[in-house]
Amino acid sequence: MTPFLRILMLIALTGTMLLGNERALISLAETPFVDDQMNLNVELSLANRSLTPVNEVRLYYRDQGSFEFENEILRAQGFRYRGKVDLSSYSGEMVEYFFRVEYADGQFQAFPRNAPEEDLLSVVANQQQSYGQGEVVIISPEPNERIVAEELVVTVSFFGFAERIDRERVRLFLNAWDVSRYVTVYDEFLTFNPRRVPPGRHQLRLELYDTNGRQIARREWSFFAFKRKGPQEVSEDFQVRGNAFALNRYESISNGRYANRFTRGGLNLTMTSDWMAMGGRVYLSNREDSRFQPINRYTGFARLNFWGDRYLRLTGGDTYPQQNPMLLRNTFVRGFYGELHLGGINAEYVTGKTRRGVEGEIRSDTSGAVIDTTRGTFERQLHAYRGSIGGGKEFQFGISYVKGRDDPRSIQFGVAPEEAAAMGADIFIALDKNRLMLEGAYNFSFYNPNILDGESIPLDTLNELGVDISRQVYDIATDMITVNQYLIPFPARSYFGRARLRYLNNSFSAEYRYVQDEFRSFGQPFQQRDIEGLVISDNIRLFQNQVLFNLQYRAFKNNLANIKLATTENRTLGVNLSYFPLRNLPSFTIGYSNYTRLNDLDSSDLFGYPEDNATNTVTFTSSYPFTLGEVQNRMTLNLLNYNRIDRIDNGFDNLSNSVSINLQTRYRFPLRHTLEFSFQQSENENATGGQVVTGNNLLFNAFGGGLEYRFDRLLNQIDNLTMGVNTRFGRVTTTRITSGTESEDKFSRNLFGGRLMYDNGSLGRLSLLGDWIVYGGDNGYEDYILTARYDVSF
């Protein structure tokens, strides 16, 4: 069975252009797609209208049946941010994602606008398309085989689907070199028989394509070549791998009114052998500023491998521990992280800072007297311990303790240093060859939202302040946390349980989650609190995985302690049907979702936020790869209808329709081009008594294209130069209604971009990019960005 990847997506284009006062105009620069290697490729266009530079843009993604997001930093290229994430572990499932822009002052902006609570983009990560009963068999050299340098014979057979393979498109890479032209391809196998290879470890990558140019198999493996005899034999004590980059980027915004220069550099280095590994990562930026949270990153690690998969790993610097998902995940800890993994018994320890202390701003009058201060950020220390039993592949039970505390003396002007001590147990069980997986965690925490000077106050004083706790409780509590009048005097709980079943072509997942509002773990900064509910999803594969049927149900409510004015319930019901034909026909996905939010307040409530709205989204996506002569094309069509109806009298209704068409063309010679067209109409209206009071309507249409050509073998046999240009012409018409009066704003937004990229294999790759945006009409100004970047891998 050969995995084969096909894309399909549901793009909720709502918010493709942002309205209102967001700092940046964000749009999808290209239709996201999942490639043959099952990587989600995204490209975001970001025009920053604020004075605050963008630190980074991250893509957050998760499978639809879970809560936790993973994330990946996107790479800046002019006004665009590109990224690629591996979705192979989500095969056959629907993956949800959104983008988050982090500014230098620590503020964030999400895309789509209401993500992740209300609005997420999604994609079907499909593969496993059946190509009969065939498989790719690596005959020689086998993975990690040691051979004599003169005796390499690469042989791979592909019985069963040989008829589908385009022999002309077979690609074999020995390390970075494309050796395809030296490969002899037979009907059901291929051989590559060089005279010799240099001693050392080598990587092989084989790619097989069908007659439509779709990749149907890919294999990567390595082997070790040594000299035949004597002392010349090369030691494989350490294999060194790494990559480095240097970047310089200059931004000129609003006719040069704002200018930013970014200089960044990074190095990743790993040295591995059979018994140990060590390495490090350094990332440096000229935007590092002690007034903000760290941007520079430094990490070093050493790993000692024991027998089996047992190991000891020590990490210093910026560590990223991933433990109990409700206690310690998704945060950098600058300090030390140690892991001892013995399979049966494991131990982990983390200590360090999760936040840098940043002094508040002092404002003085003309006489120098302090008249005001802004809130500073306390330095936050974190210590975590975890002990577990089980290797983690089939079973693991762990107990964790995470203590986080702000240092009240780290800054002079700050408000309310906090402290939290959280502990919990987590379990993971995988049965029946991972077809049945159960996981869960139960945690509780003590939280003090203001530890003042960091000292506990005497019990007598506490009693005088009206806090009634016993001596026994006081003694226990003071061992864990600072006890004063602000301590929340009861432990808060959080727990979740999740079951995943993969039977009968179903991938079923059900999760229940409960997090009290007072629950805190400083090792998990993205925990959604005051929430109780469940997520159920089922991905059903039919007809040799040609048809995917996805169902999703989410239901949550807040106000668990019943102390808020109202309880808000939100529900999502979604259904998607996807078709990925085995033959070269268009694939498509049709999707529908209904999202509702409801509480029992109405518009007459002065202190609450009444909610009673429903959002219906209908999407259609189709993708068609086709070949005309020797020209490969892929056409993608996206349609979206988004309709939010607010039943609250002064609520906002939103109606959006969008269409986008994209055509990518690739020739036999190294030329490729794209053509794209998109249209979006969006209406936001705030009505009272049936009369539109405020609103804004948007009409946005754009068309564009790109052209790219690669020149091969300029200075040697492996180098190449890629030249590319792209352009996009857009027109935006915004109609604003304020107190019943309409005003219209029209402008054009035309983008011109060019890039040169010289790649010389192991010597590295130099890229020069220029992006220029011209705003016309009512808002006439220009922005441009110039970028130079050098990358090298070794």
């Binding site: 498989e135 068999v137 005959i139 020689s140 040691r146 042989t155 051989t191 991972n434």
Partner: protein
Amino acid sequence: MLSLTALLWLFGSAAQADDNIAVVVKVNGKVSLTAEKSTESVPVKKGQVLKNRDRLETGAEAYCILKFLDDKSLLRINEKSSCIIEGKKEADAIDKNIFVELGSFFASLFQPKGKFEVTTPTSVASVKGTQFWVIQLGKAGPTRVVVTEGIVEVRNRAGKALAKKGQTASVASRTSPPEVRLTRSGDIPDAGEEELESQQNLEFEFEDSDGRKKVLRIKIEEER
């Protein structure tokens, strides 16, 4: 006529394509190949593709290792040996039969797809997922099957016997039934200067949620 010619050509191509059954991954010394219905021998080179009913012969201090294309079953042909390798395509597998004429042979099978048999002048060794030696002493002499892993069935007209790891089946002649005894030191031929590829491997088989099997192989090598 043209259509018929084209049809024949196509048929011939297909038949020819099916003939490829193995590839030579290692050659040392003088090893020659004689194709079926040919009397001319050519030297064997690494990477050489072997067809159905090719005859291989090794000289003194020579050996070669070949692998079958369906399941990478390995056959090592030691010095002063000769055999005909036969492979018949059955769906995605190749039914293999090694017609031993003379000499010693080592076979290593892992997750075999088709049949794997070794036919000697005295008997037939039928195997599945195992490692074993076949030693043919003289063109009409006795056969010895030394099992180093798994189980081998040895049979001839006179009877059959199962030999397990650590056992050796001996067949004196075509009319003598196979006899099984414990393997003695000296039963296993000298493998020459190179280590046998699979003799010192540890193999662990894993199966993922979709039923795909993966194998972790750990190679144990002594320091020289």
